[in-house]
């Protein structure tokens, strides 16, 4: 899998930005310049300075520290969501795609039903049943991501199940599970990888959206969405607050988008 920069610039840009964000998020877990939740009335809505490189929010909390901590939260939610979606999606997609028949029909109609609802609305319903918080948001979003992945994996399995190499494997007496997960699954990876990148994208946006609505991560903990929501009240007083937070979300999404395009081209 050697790819030259010239051949696939997007892949590299995506990798660099995503990698950088990942490093920042991991840093944020262990070290932030200030305690992200420490309030200081002397620094309320302070501007950008050498001490606070992105200024302070309405409670005098250091915005950069909060972005680092928030990035960590957002990333954890995004990774968790995609992990749940891909794992269950792949299993469901593989089984239905390989076996087909009535169970397949039933599963796919169920899939269609879930996909027919606006995802945020469904997430709201799940949250209102389970309660808010980081864990529940991840689970709720994860569940919503399952049908999308299931559909993609199923499509690939449908395509592959009658190809020669599968037929040969079957003739050699390989078990169904072995055929599904050792022979067919690796062939779906390029397609799966690019959808995973889009998935990260959507998960970051969905988490931001839910926290923005006040049902995601609970204050005083920070997440990028919550910060954007809070900054809205001070848009005219300290536009830098919303701008800094918004830019980080935009950059994160841009990184994933580039990664996705790069992978697609490569595949």
């Amino acid at each position: 899998m050697k790819v030259r920069f010239k051949e696939n610039r997007r892949l590299y840009i995506g990798l660099i930005i995503t990698g950088l964000m990942l490093i920042l998020a991991i840093t944020g877990k262990f070290f932030t310049p200030y305690d992200p939740n420490a309030m200081d009335s002397a620094n309320k809505l302070a501007g950008i300075s050498a001490k606070h490189i992105m200024g302070c929010d309405n409670f005098g909390r250091d915005i950069f520290s909060r972005i680092l901590a928030g990035l960590d939260t957002t990333m954890v939610v995004a990774v968790g969501t995609v992990l749940i979606g891909v794992t269950f999606g792949t299993v469901i997609g593989a089984l239905t795609g390989y076996y087909g028949g009535r169970p397949d029909e039933i599963m796919m109609r169920f899939n269609d039903a879930v996909l027919a609802f606006p995802s945020l609305l469904l997430a709201l319903v799940i949250i209102s049943i389970m309660g808010s918080g980081k864990m529940n948001v991840t689970i709720a979003l994860g569940i919503l991501f399952i049908p999308g992945y299931a559909r993609i994996v199923r499509g690939e399995f449908l395509k592959c199940r009658n190809l020669d190499y599968v037929q040969s494997a079957r003739l050699m007496g390989a078990s169904y599970l072995r055929i599904m997960f050792v022979h067919i699954l690796p062939n779906t990876i390029p397609v799966l990888l690019s959808t995973v990148a889009i998935g990260f994208n959507n998960a970051v946006l969905a988490e931001a959206g839910m926290s923005f609505l006040g049902i995601g991560v609970q204050p005083p903990d920070s997440s990028l969405g919550r910060m954007l929501s809070e900054s809205q009240s001070y848009l005219f007083l300290r536009p830098g607050y919303a701008l800094c937070t918004g830019s980080v979300i935009a950059l994160l999404i841009f990184g994933f988008a580039m990664l996705n395009e790069g992978l697609e081209k490569h595949a």
Binding site: N37, G131, S132, I215, Q218, L235, F236
Partner: protein, 502 residues
């Protein structure tokens, strides 16, 4: 041909834009004001069932009782033109005003008044929001123009309850007061669309000073986007916005500062551990720094309080309680240790997400409680979830909220801490308090009564029933087109007095 059309169109467009700016002052039927409110009226449109302060402040424009409060805290006649009390203090004789009409055009009859008082007192089988009305023995229609209310025991506060929104006069023949409210107030209800708005129109047959602005819309707006809508011009007036938001409001608005007449506190469910231990509650009072909360979340505005009474109640308010628990971390830790929580504990603060000031306060509280080892987390809930889980269901640990007075009485604030009161959502129970309360209900002598009320306040403070914070400052931005905004000592909005500037 085509060129010409473009020319004509562009002339029209220019004129529309240019002249659009000149429309300015509207009068008569096209006059309209949009008032932003932070929550929908989810409890009920029936004034006798309106539990939320935010609902009452809106319904104040639609309904009136026999009496109503004015801006100075006096009770003025409304549906009744006057009243007399018999010498024994047990019978109130209300003389009805001539020509008062309901919004459906029917005149208010003595039967309607009887029905309304009985309904709001729970005598028709429904739940009553005014505990003091259980004291009503009977309501008699004496003539077409007189209704007598007979009490079991004397109650000097009775007229103040009669003036509450929860005791409004409504027509007897309205089968669905929950959804089609009909009152006698200066505005009549037109429609409501959930989570969006409530539309009202001025009532032409109003008996008193008619509203100046014809169309009134209460628009439901999330705390954060309220500011955007104000600046964008879709809202002309709103009441409960923060000091920081006021700074950004710009030049299109006149800003009035008053006080919200609320008791904002971290209310604790006194029934559950560890809040059933007074030492824990006192420790929490010592742990928090009221002034820091005001500085961090309210730009220094607001008045710190120390019990369930706010400064507008001059007669009963006790400023000396404000500093009952000065900020003292060492003392807080000591008390926690005594109570067996040397290592602190974890707790949840449930806050309605639509009230930014309460959410902000909760955020500061989390930080302050952390300094004495109490690990608090915030759980934001929707307003109706808050009402059902916290207020009605009492299924919570602690909450930050402001409690208002539904009538101009000390009882409206203190009655809820009586151990068996329906609205005792903090499950406060103290025999001494119950005794004082019962005595105050029976006492006619005003000095003795005031003394008892002050003792109750002191007891709440000493017992640290709740972590009292402040009476919040209220900022009212109103579009410069309008004037006449009036503050009331109650949590109500009187839109009928607002008019266009000349």
């Amino acid at each position: 041909m085509r060129k010409r059309l473009v020319f004509i169109l562009s002339v029209f467009l220019t004129l529309t834009i240019a002249l659009g700016g000149c429309s300015g002052r509207k009068t008569g039927d096209s006059s309209k004001i949009v008032v932003g409110i932070p929550q929908d009226l989810e409890d009920s449109l029936d004034p006798h069932k309106a539990t939320a302060a935010g609902t009452r402040e809106v319904l104040f424009n639609v309904f009136e009782g026999l009496l109503k409060p004015d801006e100075n805290g006096n009770l003025i006649p409304a549906v009744a033109k006057e009243y007399e009390v018999t010498d024994d203090g047990l019978t109130y004789k209300f003389m009805l005003r001539d020509g008062v009409k309901f919004h459906n055009g029917n005149p208010v009859t003595a039967e309607d008044v009887k029905y309304s008082i009985e309904k709001s007192a729970g005598m028709t089988g429904e739940e009553s929001l005014i505990a003091a009305f259980s004291n009503i023995k009977e309501v008699n229609v004496v003539s077409d123009a007189e209704v007598d209310v007979v009490l079991n025991e004397t109650d000097v506060d009775f007229p103040a309850y009669i003036a509450s929104v929860n005791a409004s006069v409504i027509p007897k023949d309205n089968a669905t007061p929950d959804t089609t409210p009909i009152g006698t107030g200066p505005y009549k209800y037109i429609s409501r669309s959930p989570q969006e708005n409530i539309i009202m129109e001025s009532f032409d047959d109003y008996w008193g000073n008619k509203a100046s602005i014809k169309n009134l819309e209460f628009k439901i707006e999330n705390g954060d986007s309220m500011l955007m809508d104000l600046k964008g011009g879709t809202i002309d007036l709103t009441m409960h916005i923060s000091a920081t938001q006021i700074k950004q409001i710009g030049d299109d608005f006149d800003v009035h500062e008053g006080s919200m007449n609320l008791v904002q506190a971290l209310y604790l469910n006194n029934k559950i551990k560890p809040f059933d231990d007074a030492r824990v509650r006192q420790a929490m009072c010592y742990a928090i720094d009221k002034q820091a909360i005001l500085d961090l979340a309210f730009e220094g505005h607001g008045s710190p309080i120390g019990s369930s009474m706010f400064p507008s109640f001059g007669k009963y308010y006790m400023p000396e309680l404000e500093n009952k628990y000065p900020h003292d971390e060492a003392k807080a830790k000591e008390l926690l240790k005594e109570a067996g929580y040397a290592d602190g504990f974890s707790m949840t603060i449930t806050v309605p997400s639509n009230y930014t000031p309460h959410v902000d306060t909760a955020q500061v509280l989390v930080e302050q409680l952390k300094t004495v080892g109490i690990n608090a987390s915030i759980n934001q809930v929707e307003w109706n979830t808050w009402l059902s889980d916290v207020y009605t269901g009492r299924n919570y640990e602690s909450t930050v909220i402001g409690v208002d007075a539904s009538s101009l009485t000390a009882d409206a604030l203190l009655g809820r801490f009586y151990s068996s009161a329906d609205n005792n959502f903090i499950n406060y129970s103290n025999e001494e308090y119950d005794r004082l309360y019962e005595e105050s209900r029976k006492t006619l002598d005003d000095n003795r009564r005031t003394e008892l009320i002050k003792q109750m306040e002191t007891l709440l403070s000493e017992d640290a029933a709740n972590v009292y914070i402040q009476d919040m400052a209220e900022f009212v931005p109103i579009n410069k087109k309008f004037e006449g905004y009036t503050f009331y000592p109650l949590y109500v909005q009187d839109i009928s007095r607002i008019k266009y500037k000349d």
